[in-house]
């Protein structure tokens, strides 16, 4: 059974179509990244998946329970960090976690134990009895994630969990996501940070203007754009563009004090550059080959190429 099964979700706000026919199948066990620029419709999709927003049309189920027909059963299987949602600042860190545990029907003892364990892992043990009002944004987000995982949810949903966090909190949040995944939770997270998606996700869906425009593993998405590779090289003295023209090299661009030589096959480019340097008596100061990056894939896709 898939952790999430969404069919043709649509949502408009007035004349803005925020989500335009999104379908998703997220298999159990992975970390699925929902990647897209700001305003692409990530949050709107997540809100429909988590039963916070009623879709105009379409269906969504979580481990087989329809989120809108059977909201309580579906929501019991999820832990959610909304993008625009936070914990109660009038309660302490610990009270927030216990309150959330109660909503999920956890026994008090188990919940206390789990809360202590999570607070420890998130580096908040010492602050557990302080009001959340006094916490920094990063600490609040850590409490937010603590609440979302207290009941070990089969599905963990995080909307931009690391946006705007300090380095330390960010690392703890990412570690926690990995840890939960290793312990068996399926994870769905959104981000506009490509490196994060690349490092964390087993599968990625790229969304733009309310539509999913590509999906697959990070490696697969990168390979789609494998043709646009280049070699970056710098010499000890200025050179002219003409020395780079050779069969197999598509173009050359000056890039600061370096040149970028685009080619379908980096092997041809590197060999050509070495022979030119030899011939013209140039010394090579630096040379690097680019790997296809997810960023490139992302930019190309969202540009509509």
């Amino acid at each position: 059974m898939n952790a999430v099964e969404a069919e043709n979700l649509r949502k408009s706000f007035g004349y803005v179509t925020a989500v335009d026919g999104v379908s998703l199948s997220i298999p159990e066990g992975g970390i699925f990244g929902f990647l897209g620029p700001n305003g692409a419709g990530k949050t709107t999709t997540i809100r429909m998946l988590t039963g916070v927003l009623i879709p105009d049309s379409g269906k969504v189920s979580v481990f087989g329970d329809d989120v809108h027909q059977n909201p309580i059963a579906a929501k019991l299987k999820m832990g959610v960090i909304p993008e625009n949602g936070t914990v109660y600042s009038d309660l302490t860190a610990r009270q927030n976690i216990l309150l959330t545990g109660k909503f999920y029907g956890m026994e008090k003892d188990l919940c206390e134990k789990r809360a202590a364990e999570i607070l420890e892992r998130l580096g908040l043990t010492e602050r557990r009895n302080d009001l959340v009002r006094l916490f920094s944004k990063g600490m609040r987000q850590r409490i937010s994630i603590a609440c979302a995982i207290v009941h070990s949810p089969p599905l963990l949903v995080l909307d931009e969990p690391t946006t705007g966090l300090d380095v330390y909190s960010r690392r703890l949040v990412i570690d926690t996501v990995r840890h939960m995944n290793e312990d068996g939770s399926t994870v769905l997270l959104t981000t506009h940070n490509i490196d994060e998606a690349n490092a964390l996700c087993s599968d990625i869906g790229i969304i733009d203007k309310g539509k999913i425009i590509a999906s697959g593993s990070p490696e697969k998405l990168k390979k789609t754009f494998d043709t646009s590779r280049y070699v970056e090289i710098s010499f000890d003295r200025p050179v002219g563009k003409e020395i780079f023209s050779a069969p197999g090299i598509t173009r050359a661009e000056q890039w600061g004090d370096k040149w970028r030589i685009y080619s379908d096959d980096p092997d041809i480019a590197v060999k050509h550059l070495a022979s030119v340097a030899e011939r013209d008596n140039l010394s090579i100061i630096s040379i690097a080959t680019s790997n296809p990056s997810l960023e490139e894939a992302f930019v190309k896709l969202t540009e509509g190429i």
């Binding site: 039963g51 309580i72 929501k75 019991l76 959610v80 949602g85 914990v87 109660k102 909503f103 029907g105």
Partner: protein
């Protein structure tokens, strides 16, 4: 439908509200201070028969306290951004609405009973029917807490807007109710106007349970109050459902 989880979610929402919102400034001001000030303004120092007007005073107290918690909760949660998180927990809209009403009603029942007990120390109050008195307090608290929750439903994340709106609605309900002039002395237009205020029926129930001299039969007052409760809950649900559609 998972009824156990639903019932549990209502109780936890109620408990959360009691812990967080009972002690907020606006609840203290509109729920406790306001009715006392009104009481002193209208009843004290004017040669009125305090016992005759006591059901009116008790009704006003109940009305203000029970309806003071509800308007605060949802706008406050929307402003603090805890609402989005609450909705994503295993709750449905009804859990939140009923939980909010219950926490308002518990506040109303609690304060009203305390006030009543204190008054019996000062005034020789007759109690014709203690059971009916308790039932009236509970019924009235639920109804006016539901009004409070209804008032909190319009989409805003600014609690003070809602506080203003709720004064705008609550004060006229007080003025047209039968607390200042006994219902039995009214006729014509003012009688009709007074009949439009739900507070009138609670005050009538208090008359019945304290001195046994009500205008309407108790079953009629109770029926009206049950109808009012259902009306307020239905309206609150319709408005909040629309907000969920619009994502606000």
């Amino acid at each position: 439908m998972d009824w156990r989880t639903f019932a549990r979610s209502i109780l936890i929402v109620t408990e959360k509200n009691m812990r967080i919102y009972y002690f907020k400034g606006p609840v203290m001001i509109f729920g406790l201070l306001f009715p006392l000030i009104m009481f002193f303004t209208f009843f004290i120092g004017r040669d009125l028969d305090l016992i005759l007007f006591y059901p009116g005073f008790l009704g006003m107290m109940l009305f203000f306290t029970a309806s003071s918690v509800g308007p605060l909760i949802t706008p406050w949660e929307k402003r603090e951004k805890t609402y989005e998180r609450l909705v994503s927990l295993p709750v449905i809209l009804e859990s939140i609405i009923i939980g909010d009403i219950l926490s308002g009603a518990v506040f109303g029942v609690g304060i009203t009973i305390i006030v009543f007990c204190l008054s019996t120390l000062l005034l020789p109050l007759p109690v014709a029917n203690a059971g009916l008195l308790l039932l009236s307090i509970v019924l009235g608290s639920i109804a006016f807490a539901a009004l409070g929750t209804l008032l909190s439903s319009p989409a805003t994340n600014n609690p003070s807007n809602i506080m203003m709106l709720s004064s705008l609605v609550r004060l006229p309900i007080i003025f047209i109710s039968g607390i200042f002039i006994p219902l039995s002395q009214l006729e014509g237009l003012s009688y009709l106007l007074t009949s439009a205020s739900p507070l009138t029926y609670i005050v009538d129930l208090f008359h019945a349970s304290l001195k046994g001299n009500a205008v309407y039969p108790a079953w009629f007052d109770i029926l009206v109050m049950v109808f009012v409760i259902l009306l307020f809950i239905g309206a609150a649900k319709a408005i909040q459902k629309r907000n969920l559609m619009k994502g606000i």
